[in-house]
Symmetry: C2
Subunit: 337 residues, 2 copies
């Protein structure tokens, strides 16, 4: 059997955020239609090494794709001059079980996470939203901004705030136009990118807020938010992580990428545990919204929250797009196994 | 990161059964010492495709290796002119989480399974055993014979019986010496290989019996066996599979590769369910025996049974040997991921 091997740099060259957004949207809908299966997570902590690994896998029935990714997180590698993190994914054709690609997982994960946050903004933020705030100026931020601007080109201002490093926010703000052009083929001449020191100030100016920090303490207070603000919360994907105050959930319209997973490890975990909201307050999954099974925003004053914990089935669909394009342009190497 | 990719043919060239036996023995011992972890199995049946996949993974703490293999079994591929089965494994250095190899899993699985069956024979069969019987002349048979002859060169006769195809048994018997020479670098001039039609007749002549069929009905009856016969049962790895009559377990010394797994899906599953034996009748795991924690054969009349359902941690150790050798002889391709 012949398998296409793609490295990070090759994936970066062939993958297109426009396609990834469409693929992610399609998979969310297929999930709502019961045409996806998320297989059980396998994870392990290496105590002595202070490290962790996990294996995420699943099946997109509607697209006849299945596979896995294995992630290794060894923070102490930094001291050894090695990358602290690596991910490899394997993608299979579910009609035949034949492997179609083995590739670096990290760029694909960034792309589909960007698409997820942006789909939340596009589906739930006010139609007249003109200001976006990014909380967290790390490696996820440019992907979120790129995908959101593709879906909402009317956004005029993007506030970039980083709770740990204003410098990082500044660097990202000043490079953002170039990154959008070079990495995403997006012209953003109508949009300004502003680094901001004060979370409060940025929140008070924003119609849509995307959170992508690993925070364990809420950084955004309810009293700061405007009526009609939308949140796409992507940072919380483990127990006890929290980026926005639990009180923001009270009265808000709440959507999950995967309800069960969000309840367990998402941004909604603590508001539920604290009793600020009950499970019945979760309107449903984003796929249900995209399929028209549940309602979205109904007026300009509601707060909407999309809690996205990440789904491997999104990686599969994004990888499929990358593989198809790579084959077309003869990128990567085909290996006989 | 740079990962070595090895295909089946390359693995076949570099891997040595002698080393695999030592690695498998070592891993069994490490398991007994609590230095291995078998992570939860992920499996799925594709109903429409009448197919199945599973992901096996684990960690050999003693060797600082972890990884996974993904197996796809799509029997209907035969009609499409495609291989019905494929397996790919990924091997990581557990000190750093860095991937060290991605390779075809099938040859490695055959090698470690051969080593497992042979270690059972070597640890438990009578020291003066001279006749070996293989029940099943499929792809596993040569690996079992090769490994057993390495550990027990005094075996003079090998009976090969296949319940479904005498022709296959005949072909294997007549080619066996050549296969041993070419694939395993073993001279077996003192051993004769005999295809036999009658299971009963072969059983009545044999001191050690290795079963490697996918049978769901017992093929060997208790009344046929000699005093002091050893069984290495490798075919049963799923519920309801059974190769030898339950009654053979009564009074026998019983060992497992992994006790919990053997109880659930091994050759001992049905004897336990039928009440022929109780869980307390299982003496322990083969690793406990190899570590000297439990006793083995104590006289020439006992029946001994090694129930081996297969462990991914064995693949890891065998793969490590293959990777080390491949690097030495510059085989395979190094891919930057």
């Amino acid at each position: 059997m012949s398998v296409l091997i793609l490295k990070r740099e090759e994936i970066k060259k062939v993958i297109d955020m426009r396609e990834v957004i469409e693929e992610v949207r399609k998979v969310y809908k297929l999930k709502s239609q019961g045409k996806t299966v998320i297989w059980p997570l396998v994870n392990y902590e290496f105590e002595e090494e202070h490290a962790a690994m996990d294996i995420r896998s699943g099946y997109v029935k509607g697209e006849q794709l299945h596979g896995l990714k294995m992630l290794n997180n060894f923070p102490e590698n930094r001291e050894k001059g090695l990358a602290p993190f690596n991910g490899i994914m394997m993608v299979y054709d579910s009609n035949t079980g034949v492997p179609i690609g083995i590739m670096d997982a990290s760029y694909i994960t960034c792309m589909r996470t960007g698409a997820a946050g942006a789909i939340g903004v596009d589906s739930l933020a006010r139609k007249d939203a003109e200001t976006l705030m990014l909380l967290g100026a790390g490696k996820q931020a440019p992907f979120q901004i790129a995908a959101t601007l593709l879906l909402r080109p009317n956004i005029k201002e993007v506030y970039i705030v980083d709770p740990l490093s204003f410098e990082q926010a500044e660097t990202l703000a000043s490079n953002m136009r170039k990154i959008l052009q070079e990495d995403f083929d997006i012209q953003a001449d109508q949009t300004v990118f502003l680094a901001e020191r004060s979370i409060e100030k940025a929140v008070r100016c924003s119609d849509a807020i995307i959170t992508v920090t690993p925070s364990r303490n809420p950084l955004i207070k309810k009293e700061w938010i405007r009526p009609g603000t939308h949140f796409s919360c992507l940072g919380s994907d483990m127990e006890t992580k929290q980026e926005i105050e639990s009180a923001i959930f009270a009265g808000a319209k709440i959507y999950a990428d995967d309800k069960e997973q969000c309840i367990r490890v998402g941004e909604m975990e603590l508001p539920l545990l604290e009793g600020v909201i009950r499970e019945a307050d979760i309107l449903g999954e984003i796929g249900d919204l995209l399929c028209g099974k549940i309602s979205g925003r109904e007026n300009s004053d509601e707060t909407t929250i999309f809690d996205a914990t990440g789904l491997y089935i999104l990686d599969l669909a994004a990888a499929k797009a990358a593989i198809a394009k790579a084959k077309k342009v003869h990128m990567g190497i085909e290996v006989e196994m």
